[in-house]
């Protein structure tokens, strides 16, 4: 800490926003202690001798005249072993530790370092004494959980020669594991480092997206994929499935690290994650999913300014893991609550409001946040990515409101949740007509070996049928379905199969909850194969009603739940029977 901490006095208190006088020299985003209770705050405006501070805790009882002390450091997070399986509030206070300190309700003024000072980690050195290292270089590793190898890196912007490196063994987080001789002296490096949350961590180079983030969710992977390093929004009114979709992605997507941010949402939803993730197993390793997960919980009843900080805390942690060369996925539920926190603080600062009371910088802040997603070549020359998935909660489910509109400018995939689908209990209620993904071109090559290069063609064909269904629904509304020509009746039937047998996916069904890419493609092509064969039958004069009433069709719609991902050959057997039945109908006619 600096020699002389800047100290001043509170001159005004308005909710979470406090003004301090006599604090010339306090810097923007500097961490400060506010009042006798030493509440944690961050400077958000400086004007001459006065600074405005947003306080991350309830300000009840705070009085003008109480002292305000600067720390000389910006709001930052601790990065090192112990992050995984942790649950933190918006400014990275460990909630489990806080519970031990203050009980079941969070009291004010509690302080605890984010990473345990008592836990020992088994460090295996990698760097050699005498070698030259730069920011990002790996000094050694710690097997943090059976699922995850934590790389201990030289902090960015530091370079020099390794003067000493610790031997393999167990160390505390604050033990020095390496000494680096730099141009300005010797730096002692510990098992952890700190990084300011509002500053993106540096990398060598930004790269185009290349591989899909496989989520095991059919409508996403097959129709509206997100690339590793991509940014996507999930907008939807209340109860449409933003949280369940985010949970599904946290559970099943093939990222090495998950950072889940409950930003201004329900406490019970964080409990659900805490209870279910340790039980759910990673499909590849069989290990509990919790072992690769970091939770940030700043629920709706926790202080609003810490909610504002929570998404930065989350994304900084994600970037740190990316810098080790991992693929990280981060879910922020909900970015609208973050935007509302921004609005509330802006109001207290008496800034000029723009649309619906949001500050005029809403859009640029959203842009800066989503820009922190990306696939990069790390400082150490490896490949890593941060994929960002942001839930949006538009008032009244109206997508023309400011947060949805501005978010759309910065994301390249948009999973539009639809209240009417949700009320039909069609889950996930992602509307296939209004959603889009610009990552399709980037990830097509990934699917080629699996699909004989047919992926694009098949998905387009299926989408064509679904679009046609939508047009025909209008016709049916006017004249009834009996009036449709036979081939169009079949289109309606196939579209139903696509909806019920492919697009719908029950998160609570043990088999359906995750679909491997192979199973996804198999289900899709099976429904399309049915369509082509049924089309031939109809051309031969078989009535569509006869095809619709084949008992096997009901089963086709249920394959998603009855066939596990590792047994998809069952689908082939089933299909050859179904297609034979249809061929028999055709032959009868001709």
């Amino acid at each position: 800490m600096g020699v002389m901490a800047i100290q001043g006095k509170i001159s005004k208190i308005s909710g979470p926003v406090v003004q301090a006088d006599g604090v010339a020299g306090l810097e923007m985003h500097e961490l400060t202690m506010v009042g006798e209770a030493e509440l944690i705050g961050e400077v958000v405006r400086v004007e001459g001798e006065t600074a405005t501070i947003q306080v991350y805790e309830d300000t009840v009882g705070l009085k003008p005249g109480e002292r305000v002390t600067g720390s000389g450091l910006p709001l930052a997070v601790e990065l090192g072993p112990g992050l995984l399986m942790g649950i933190y509030d918006g400014i990275q206070r460990p909630l489990e530790v806080i519970q031990k300190m203050t009980g079941d309700f969070i009291k004010r003024g509690v302080k605890s370092p984010a990473l345990s000072r008592e836990a020992k980690w088994h460090f295996v050195p990698v760097a050699k004494k005498g070698s030259k290292v730069q920011g990002g270089a790996v000094l050694g590793t710690v097997q943090e959980t059976p699922l995850f190898l934590h790389k201990i890196m030289v902090p960015p912007r530091l370079s020099g020669t390794v003067k000493s490196i610790a031997k393999e063994g167990d160390y505390l987080i604050e033990d020095t594991v390496a000494e680096i001789e730099t141009s300005s002296g010797i730096e002692e490096l510990k098992l952890y480092q700190r990084w300011p949350v509002r500053e993106p961590r540096p990398y060598q180079e930004r790269l185009e997206p290349s591989d899909p983030l496989i989520t095991g969710q059919r409508i996403i992977d097959t129709f509206f994929p997100v690339a590793k390093g991509g940014a996507v929004a999930i907008p939807g009114g209340f109860g449409t499935g933003k949280t369940i979709t985010s949970h599904q992605l946290a559970a099943w997507s093939d990222a090495e690290i998950i950072v889940y941010i409950g930003c201004g949402e329900r406490g019970n939803e964080m409990t659900e994650v805490l209870l279910t993730f340790p039980e759910w197993k990673d499909p590849k390793s069989g290990r509990p999913l919790m072992e690769r997960t970091v939770l940030i919980a700043n629920t709706s009843n926790m202080p609003v300014s810490a909610r504002e900080a929570s998404i930065y805390t989350g994304v900084t942690i994600a970037e740190y893991f990316r810098d080790m060369g991992y693929n990280v996925a981060i879910m922020a539920d909900s970015t609208s609550r973050w935007a509302e926190a921004l609005r509330e603080i802006s109001g207290r600062l008496e800034e000029m409001p723009a649309e619906e009371g949001f500050p005029s910088y809403l859009s640029s802040r959203l842009g800066e946040f989503y820009e922190r997603a990306g696939r990069v070549r790390t400082l150490n020359g490896e490949y890593g990515s941060v994929t960002l998935i942001g839930a949006v909660s538009p008032p009244g489910g109206d997508f023309s409101e400011p947060v949805t509109v501005h978010t759309k400018r910065f994301v390249r995939a948009f999973w539009a949740l639809d209240s009417s689908l949700a009320s039909q209990r069609h889950y996930p209620a992602i509307n296939w007509l209004t959603s889009y993904s610009e990552y399709v071109d980037y990830v097509e090559h990934w699917w080629a070996p699996l699909t004989g290069g047919q992926w694009r063609q098949k998905t387009l064909r299926a989408m064509e049928i679904l679009k046609r269904e939508d047009e025909l629904k209008e016709v049916i509304r006017l004249v009834g379905s009996e009036a449709l020509p036979e081939p169009e009746k079949l289109v309606m039937e196939t579209a139903r199969l696509l909806r019920e047998g492919f697009l719908q996916q029950n998160a609570y069904d043990p088999i359906d909850t995750y679909s491997s890419p192979e199973k996804q493609y198999k289900l899709l092509t099976s429904i399309l194969a049915f369509h082509e064969s049924a089309n031939r039958a109809i051309a031969a004069g078989v009535p569509a009603s006869k095809i619709s009433s084949l008992p096997a069709l009901a089963e086709l719609a249920k394959l998603r739940m009855s066939v596990p991902s590792e047994k998809i050959s069952i689908i082939d057997d089933f299909m050859s029977k179904l297609l034979k039945e249809i061929d028999a109908l055709t032959e009868e006619k001709s």
Partner: protein, 459 residues
């Protein structure tokens, strides 16, 4: 401790706000006592404070206050209410002061009405079925202990009747202890208040309940405190006295109006429809005070009631509520007009915690599948009802007509019940199967065959 300083330096009064000059040593959100001409006492709290001016929000309103004849004392603590078991069986105003003529409850224990946020790590997930005795709720949108499940109503609909029915009937099957009911009423009419008091007294439920009343002609600012007083008491019962508490809060619409009024008086930048931008967080600070805590016996289940302005579910009050609560029970004007009580429209209704509170060992193994089948059959019957209005019933197939018949029976027999009719889960399930048996057996695609074999029976 020295008596707090008294100030007479009122700078101005605006709406429910009073600005006091020349103050010192005053804390944010502190409780304030205001004495006006004739010694009338009011209370308020500090909303904003600078070196020498405090903005004070007056719970009882500012009518009759002047800048010259008013004196103000800052009490150095936030608004608290007393807590004791003696409060059960009593009626209070929104600030927790007795309104039933009885003495103030004896206690040493005072607690800040704003409470503290529950640590998410401390929460325990709600999984226990609460039997309300109302088929539409138990069968279709099951309430779970520790859940917050609001009633979305409209003006003139029987939400109060339903809320009292639930309060009276709610039990956990197989457990002796029933619920303590904490009732918070904001801005309700005198006859409504009388109705609540009477029905609590008649059912004998009053001795295990506490009522916090703010009437329509009481000051709006007190409405902001009423649910917080009630929840502070509920937290005491649940987490210090091991009780299961059902908190009924009515009507959140009146609460939101009061919030808007004060926001306007403070000249804040409004968000949608003039409501303040922080209404979501403010609502959350009430609704999130439901739940369970690991290692504690008690629980808080919330059933807030709100009336949707113009029956519009996208209005900010129901909208922001729906974003926080764990589902909603939606009342329907059309069902009400047709004389169906309770007029619950199951289609937009949802209990998000139902899946964890039902099934084998909790309710019945077929419960989930039956609810899902009833839901889809009723949705279909509603579609067919509008179709047959266009093309006539003759244009429908026999199967379609079975669905129409099902729809009518579902409304008349399953949904409908008397205000004093308490159906246990078995009765609800029996009725559900009766309804499903109106449909051809082959239609029951969402239910496993062995259940169909066991329960399906054509009359």
């Amino acid at each position: 401790m020295a008596l707090p300083m008294e100030y007479n330096s009122i700078q101005r009064i605006s709406g429910p706000l009073l600005f006091v000059e020349g103050i010192s040593n005053v804390g944010f959100n502190e409780l304030v006592e205001i004495r006006s001409e004739g010694g009338i006492m009011r209370r308020g709290r500090v909303l904003e404070i600078t070196k020498d001016i405090a903005a004070v929000e007056i719970f009882e309103g500012t009518t009759g206050l002047s800048t010259t004849q008013t004196s103000v004392r800052f009490l150095g603590r936030p608004l608290t209410i007393p807590l004791s078991m003696e409060m059960l069986g009593r009626v209070f105003n929104g600030l927790g002061e007795p309104m039933d003529g009885g003495p103030p409850p004896f206690t040493e224990d005072y607690r800040d009405v704003n409470g503290l946020p529950m640590n998410p790590f401390s929460r325990d997930y709600p999984t226990q079925f609460i039997q309300t005795g109302v088929s539409a709720i138990d069968g279709m949108d099951t309430l779970v202990r520790g859940q917050k499940l609001p009633i979305f109503s409209g003006s003139g609909l029987p939400h109060n009747l339903l809320a009292t029915q639930v309060a009276r009937q709610a039990t956990i099957p197989g457990e002796e202890s029933s619920f303590a009911v904490v009732f918070a009423a904001m801005g309700i009419k005198h006859d409504e208040a009388a109705f609540f008091k009477r029905s609590f007294e008649e059912s004998g439920a009053l001795k295990s309940s506490a009522i916090f009343l703010n009437l329509a002609d009481d000051p709006p600012v007190e409405r902001l405190v009423t649910p917080r007083s009630a929840l502070t008491f509920a937290e005491y019962l649940a987490f210090e006295r091991d009780m299961h508490v059902l908190v009924i809060i009515t009507d959140m619409t009146n609460y939101a109006e009061a919030l808007r009024e004060i926001s306007a008086a403070r000249e804040e930048v409004p968000s949608r429809k003039g409501y303040p931008g922080y209404m979501y967080s403010d609502f959350a600070s009430i609704y999130e005070r439901a739940g369970r805590i690991k290692g504690k016996k008690g629980s808080i289940t919330q059933m807030p009631v709100l009336t949707m302005p113009n029956d519009d579910i996208t209005h900010p009050i129901p909208d922001l509520t729906g974003y926080i609560t764990e589902g909603q029970i939606v009342l329907d004007r059309d069902l009400h007009r047709r004389g169906i009580y309770p007029p619950i429209n199951i289609l937009p209704s949802l209990s998000r915690l139902m899946k964890d509170g039902i099934g084998k060992g909790k309710t019945r193994e077929d419960h989930g599948a039956v609810a899902s089948q009833l839901y889809s059959a009723y949705a279909r019957s509603q579609d067919l009802r509008s179709l047959s209005a266009i093309i006539g019933e003759e244009g429908l197939t026999e199967k379609d007509r079975a669905y129409l018949k099902f729809g009518d029976a579902f409304e008349q027999r399953f949904l409908s019940q008397r205000f004093d009719e308490n159906r246990d889960l078995e009765a609800t399930m029996r009725l559900a199967w009766k309804m499903l048996s109106i449909l051809p057996e082959a239609e029951l695609t969402r239910i496993a065959d062995h259940f169909v074999k066991q329960y399906y029976s054509r009359e």
